[in-house]
Amino acid sequence: MTEQRILIVSHGHPDHSKGGAEVAAYNLFKEYQRQGLDTVFLARTDQPSHGGSAFSTINSDREILFHTHMSDFFLFQSGYKRHVWQDFHGLLQRYRPTVVHFHHYIHMGLELIREVKNTLPNARIVLTLHEYLAICANNGQMVKPGKQMKLCYKSSPSDCARCFPDRSTADFFLREKYIKSIFKLVDVFVSPSHFLIERYKVWGIPKEKMVMIENGQPEVEAPPPRPLAEGEARGRFAFFGQINPYKGVDVLLEAFKLLPEDVQEQVHLDIHGANLDIQTKEFQEKIHGLLEDLGDLVTLHGSYESHEIGRLMEQADWVIIPSVWWENSPMVIQEAFNHRRPLIGPDIGGMNEKINDGVDGLLFRSRSSMSLSCKIAEAISSRDYWSKIISGINKVVTSQECASSHLDCVVDDSKGFSSEK
């Protein structure tokens, strides 16, 4: 085990962008380092490098930035392929990792996987799947383009071509064939949800090549329940995450609007969300309109730093994840459970898998403001109900456990994951 050299490839560095995938990849890297493993974190960046070099370092010389980009988001083509066959190739040759673990390929190019096989045919290739990018050309959301954002249950070249009139069925056929030709080189796929594994199984990845490993959480001391005033209900709700059409903040706000007056008097919503300003004008107007209608009922806080999460959780009774797409394993669910806060989420995809209705949280009918509104009313119905749900929350997977699972199932090929060579 100690002879392993593990290269972790991430599409971003958490110092630059705080997406769930970047954070998960980095946490894994830090945990490997803590355990004294030989590991390197390679993170893609869009920032210019010194002297036009492909690489630079950040924080330490084990954290390497890869200054590259993608030119084609349909086929995930590297925008500068020399970076792949020369620079990345050189890095592989020099470091000679035994395991290359991709936490993404977006923004870098699927060719990286090909290059690992070309340069180090015996290196184990691991790919963590964070969303449905290979299956769905609509940003991997499996949500159909268009205002209605209809949920998609299964892809096929002809169905996909209907979603994208500029592309033909044959284009999607070729896309699938191409991506699969690269995925064939991967030894193990990791996913933090069974739901995603099922989707990729239906799409054509052999089930035995996929393993579910939940994202690890740092070990924290869960904050005590928020102290209540006399007669106060457990009515403090919080939203964490991006404010974009997929995250369902509009559904959430509409649910609050629908609450009966007596319930409204007992609740408050804190939105800790970023990036509203980069959304379409139409979407921004919709959200601002709803916020205006709701007045004091809602507070829009803006973005937060990851170290603030504990303090923010402390002030909440419930965390709501209203996403209108499937999600995979949303980080906020693990974070909420880690801080012993119950979840309210839609009954689809990753939320449906991770939240046990009536046990550690509540599920509402996906996209239904009315249903969510009812669940909010139910949530504050009694203090005992809240306590009961809290007691149903299980301990979450720690970073250390997550790393161990990776080492067990992924790095150590004696566990029966064999590649198709």
Partner: protein, 622 residues
């Protein structure tokens, strides 16, 4: 060209018995000679039965000076003409063409003396010897008789006679009245959109001509060195142009076909030929208009479009139009381009180490988009057969060259599979590209493959070759091809006539689009032809029939043409139903913006194919 000229046989001796016996009164006005070669004797002969008056021109007996002492009659072209003055002279009320005009070809250098010839007018066995006058050179309007009373159709008839006799010399008769463009446009109108010229071959003229009153007797294209076309009024395609009729209301009847296009063969056409359009009116006046000469270059796409734009398969005469105009022009155009471009360069670039002694050469032409190379290579790389395969991509699209070569380099670095690029330097067409690839192939077996074919599983090359080895007289073998949804794209080709498209033989793909389970798909089946999208053929056999025929335009019918060439030589073609590849048909070819034009190109190819193979196909489908 109006009414036909009446010819009087010299042998015709009998005459009508009816009518009073009356001596013919006759007179010669003019004895003219045109260009030293053509005698024109004009006058009048008054007789109630004037239509039965015969004229004979004979050598005068005993004259040795001219004609070498010949005797007997000379061939005569007779024309009856209107003579109001004769009418008045004889106080005759009814109309009657008393006038005559006799055209005699004169085969001698020297002009005849008037006494060298003898003219007789004959009716009912009575003859009248007419006194000739001294022969004088005639020019201009003088050819139309002594008095000005000729009707215009009589003038037109004389022009036709002269044309028959002196050919294009008629346009060079000195002194003919000249009409300036403005005067001409007072009679008729026209516009030439294009005079596409193929030096050494001819001109494709298109535009419109509005001559509702039929003012023109003829219209020819000529070069400065007196090369003349045929009369374009007779040798052109006319079609409706409602826009022209609307722009000039009342100038022609509603069914008048103003549109005009023609392939005008001019085998000696120079690059700067000084083209003129010569219009000769029925009145005998000439209009001469310079025509800007637009010589075609090697980019002939636009030229092809122009030749096809007004062609319609629904025209009842489409076969003749195709043969004489559109087809003739297109085939000349493409031959010219080929000659102009010389032999393709055949630049060869090897990516990855060359495969030593390859078992087969796979040839893939690329046109329009080249990302197919990536898609194919991504699939081929997992197939052991490709270690023994010479993979040849023929770039057939110069527009892509600059991007393509770096793309190949990157692709070959990332997908370590050997392939070579052959580039001809210009667009060769599907057949030319494959032939170029074949010339650069170093193995004995060829696989012609479209770029939009993706295998369903590895090992297909060696398996198909193995199966081929057990077949008799094999010409071409092809696998089953399916669309991306698994429905059948190709299981062999059949020939079918289509009445909607002029009854031309078209290539059909029976079962296309059908789920496979609904079709009988034998492991091996024989077909009159198989698709060119994926063809397995021995190189020697391919070469023996000259490869794919390059006279088809833009990739159509070459495959069946090759199959039929081999079929004629006794070979058989097979589809292997157990071997499946995906064919994303037409992905590489839907780049023509002008679908109508593309359809007409297909018709042209189909016409060519039918001309060549119609008989064999009839035997095969019988």
């Amino acid at each position: 060209m109006g009414s036909k000229i009446r010819f009087f046989s010299r042998e015709e001796k009998h005459s009508k018995e009816t009518g009073p016996k009356q001596a013919v009164k006759a007179w010669v006005d003019v004895c003219g000679i045109i260009g030293g070669k053509h005698l024109l004797i004009q006058g009048w002969a008054f007789h109630p039965g004037y239509e039965d008056v015969h004229f004979n021109v004979a050598y005068a007996a005993g004259d040795e000076a001219v004609g070498g002492g010949k005797t007997g009659k000379l061939p005569v072209d007779l024309l009856r003409t209107t003579r109001q003055d004769v009418n008045r002279h004889f106080s005759h009320e009814d109309g009657g063409c008393w006038g005559f005009s006799l055209l005699v070809d004169w085969p001698y250098e020297q002009s005849p003396e008037e006494n060298a010839l003898q003219l007789t007018a004959e009716i009912e066995r009575t003859q009248l010897l007419l006194a000739l006058k001294p022969f004088v050179e005639l020019a201009g309007a003088d050819i139309f008789g002594h008095s000005a009373s000729w009707r215009s159709d009589e003038r037109a008839q004389l022009i036709a006679q002269l044309y028959r006799s002196m050919g294009n010399g008629v346009y060079e008769i000195p002194g003919l009245k000249r009409l300036e463009e403005g005067q001409l446009r007072g009679l008729l109108n026209w516009h030439w959109e294009e005079a596409l010229s193929i030096p050494g071959s001819g001109v494709f003229l298109s535009g419109w001509l509005l001559d509702g009153q039929q003012e023109l007797a003829s219209m020819v294209l000529r070069t400065a060195d007196s090369g003349y076309s045929k009369n374009l009024l007779e040798h052109s395609v006319r079609y409706r142009r409602t826009d022209v009729l609307e722009a000039f209301p009342g100038k022609a009847s509603s069914d008048y076909q103003a549109g005009l296009y023609a392939w005008i063969p001019m085998p000696h056409l120079a690059e700067r030929a000084g083209l003129e359009l010569v219009m000769l009116t029925r009145e005998g006046a000439l209009g001469i208009l310079p025509v800007p000469q637009n010589n075609v270059r090697d980019d002939i796409t636009l030229a092809s479009q122009k030749m096809l734009v007004n062609f319609h398969i629904s025209d009842r005469q489409y076969r003749e139009i195709m043969r004489d105009h559109v087809g003739a022009a297109l085939s000349t155009l493409w031959k010219y381009r080929r000659a102009l471009l010389s032999e393709p360069e055949g630049e060869v670039l090897q990516f990855g180490p060359a495969v030593e002694n390859p078992k087969r050469s796979v040839i893939v032409p690329l046109y329009g988009r080249y990302d197919f190379l990536l898609h194919q290579v991504a699939q081929f790389i997992g197939d052991k057969d490709f270690a023994e395969t010479e993979l040849i991509y023929v770039l057939d699209d110069p527009r892509l060259y600059d991007e393509f070569i770096p793309f190949c380099r990157d692709t070959s670095k990332l997908f370590p599979i050997s392939f070579k690029i052959v580039y001809g330097g210009y667009n060769l067409g599907y057949a030319g590209a494959n032939n170029l690839g074949a010339r650069n192939a170093s193995s004995k077996k060829l696989v012609l493959l479209n770029s939009d074919i993706i295998p369903s599983e590895p090992g297909w090359l060696s398996r198909i070759e193995e199966k081929m080895a057990g077949l008799e007289n094999v010409g071409v073998a092809a696998p089953k091809l399916v669309f991306d949804d698994g429905t059948v794209q190709h299981l062999g080709m059949a020939f079918e006539r289509n009445p909607q498209f002029g009854n031309l033989w078209l290539n059909e793909h029976p079962g296309k689009g059908t789920p496979e389970w609904l079709l009988e798909v034998p492991a091996v089946s024989e077909h009159p032809a198989v698709t060119g999208a994926c063809m397995f053929i021995d190189k020697a056999l391919y070469d023996s029939v000259g490869g794919l025929d390059e006279t088809y335009v833009f990739g159509d019918f070459e495959d069946s043409d090759l199959c039929l060439k081999l079929r004629r030589a006794g070979y058989r073609h097979y589809v292997l139903g157990d071997e499946k590849l995906y064919h994303l048909e037409r992905q590489s070819q839907n780049l023509f913006v002008n679908q109508d034009w593309k359809f007409k190109i297909t018709l042209y190819n189909a016409w060519q194919h039918t001309q060549r193979w119609g008989r064999l196909i009839e035997q095969l489908v019988a």
